[in-house]
Amino acid sequence: MPLTKEALLNMYRRMLTIRHFEEGITEFSRQGLVPGTGHVSIGEEAVAVGSCSALGDKDYIISTHRAHGHLLARGADINVILAEVLGKATGCTGGKGGSMHLSDFSRQILGTNGIVGAGINIAGGVGLAIKMRQTGQICLGFFGDGAANRGTFHEGLNMAAVLQVPTVFVCTNNQYGLSMPQCKACGNIDISARANGYGMPGYRVDGTDVIAVYEAVKSAVDRARDGEGPSLIEAVSYRLRGHSMRMDQMPGGSDYRPNGEVEDWAENKDPLKIFRSKLKELGYINEKEAEQLDAECRQLFESAADFALNSPEPEPETAFTWIYAPEGVK
């Protein structure tokens, strides 16, 4: 079934929300308001939104260090996510997890991860529980091109195929793992081709095209829901900013990229520009409406900023909680 106008506009709205959120926190980081660091996904919004739009309400996701977009695409509360990035008491982890440890259990977002490649096995395990409990859900596990070179990728995908779990593995190939270009980190840059070796389908899609991502993930999700097991999807996109907000502020922190590369992708392959043109072509939006939507999404961030900046710091005693289950919990 093709996506409706309403669904497409909703996807565009989510992509814009992610963009404004991440531009906003980048500015906050420059002002010293973000403890530690954070990894923005500017240029990769189509992967987050295309993938999450293919999920049902009850489906799970597991994500990575570069996860704001995944959380927002899945409908997590922008106020709570921003508060967490700022280390505030009102954040999803009470300010104790920060940008790399976001979750929303009410939306089956079971957490993001500071360890590259660690989520792959966890996503497989969530799939295993779904299969054993016969709940009809699926789990989508995000990871990066860098993570695909960890041993957990091999163990996790092979195990998924062996156990036939309903997990869809989505690799956001943004072409860099920190400073390492993917073409220098892989003998074969086609990560999706590895799927065949594990006995599952693999698809390589244009990760700047939100509809293409949606369609590929949707078919993998349908397949998993029909009990036909896991799939691997590689969505090729580009990280338009530095590895992390902190690194972007370091002198020379982005010098590893060839001259003109970032500018070229920003000019010609920005997923938001591409999608906006597409929506205009379809007659779903005009310039004025596009600007209005843009302002609305900016406003979403502004009001989240109001909430987060005015939120309290965590109480000192919270440093000692959530290490073990409370007494009496079974």
Binding site: Y60, I62, C92, T93, G94, K96, G97, H101, S103, F105, L110, G111, N113, G114, I115, A118, I120, N121, I122, A123, G124, G125, V126, G127, L128, A129, I130, M132, R133, C139, G151, T152, E155, G156, N158, M159, V162, L163, T321, W322, I323, Y324, A325, V329, K330
Partner: protein, 326 residues
Amino acid sequence: MPERQISYREAVAEAIKEEIARDDRVFLMGEDVGVLGGAFGSTKGVYDAFGGERVLDTPISETAIVGYALGAAMAGMRPIAEIMRVDWMTICMDEIVNQTAKMRFLSGGHPDVALVIRAAAEGGIGLGGQHSQSFEAWFVHIPGLKVVMPSTPYDVKGLLKSAVRDPNPVIFLEPGVLYGVSGPVPEEEYVIPLGKAEVKREGKDITIVAWGTLLPKTLNAAQTLANEGIEAEVVDPRTLRPLDIDTIIDSVKKTGRLIIAHEAMKTGGVGAEIAALVQERAFDHLDAPIKRVATPDVIIPVNRSLERLVLPQEDTVVEAVKSICS
């Protein structure tokens, strides 16, 4: 009627069977745990009782075994994951330390992280440098984990059942050399709470805290010492995190002397932690320096007499006691 005697490995398998039957969220996964019944026979009969739905033979993928168990726990299951030997938990330390142990904290206190990660531990059967180690100290160092290391068939059954029911991740270490040792285990169901030490032998002259393979060795040593007029009190912590330090302190207050005996390496071992805690809390009750009996900082050799030489034995304990009890 004489009480039923079963082996340590049979007690492990029985606990797993009872827990799988009791709770349909419980399942077993690991290398060779199913059809074979475990590389050391400690899961024999579990597959026959429940089949492949609840007993998963996995590929040789330690990171995936623990990572999948964690993911399954977060989505509502209660996995028992087996890593064949604790030596190979080094391969999945990220999954244990950075993922499992921290999941509750890093997820806002929410998730179910109820899983047991079992492994055979310690040496004594000539398996050499990569198959003989005692890594309990590695895990005792990690907030978020519980660490259990039972030494008798009775204890392993009751503690494993509690570990499965515990809402926290539990590292459950089974001394491989004890799998074949039998002891009384009642037919009726029972559990032993985590975090409770047991005084295995009463005495007034010295306290010896011992676990793992050092427990039976220490009990033998205590018998030898008794023949020579020294009454040793032997305390088995059974759970190393949380440690039942109160029971140890109470004993030291009574005896005034303390030895900690474990098979793990001396440097950075749990014995050092117990010694530090006792001097913090009962310094005035000590009549002699605290001593540790442990493996010196070497690699465990295969050769029988070399292995015997480096691993603490019954007479190592006897000598250590005499050195502070004369």
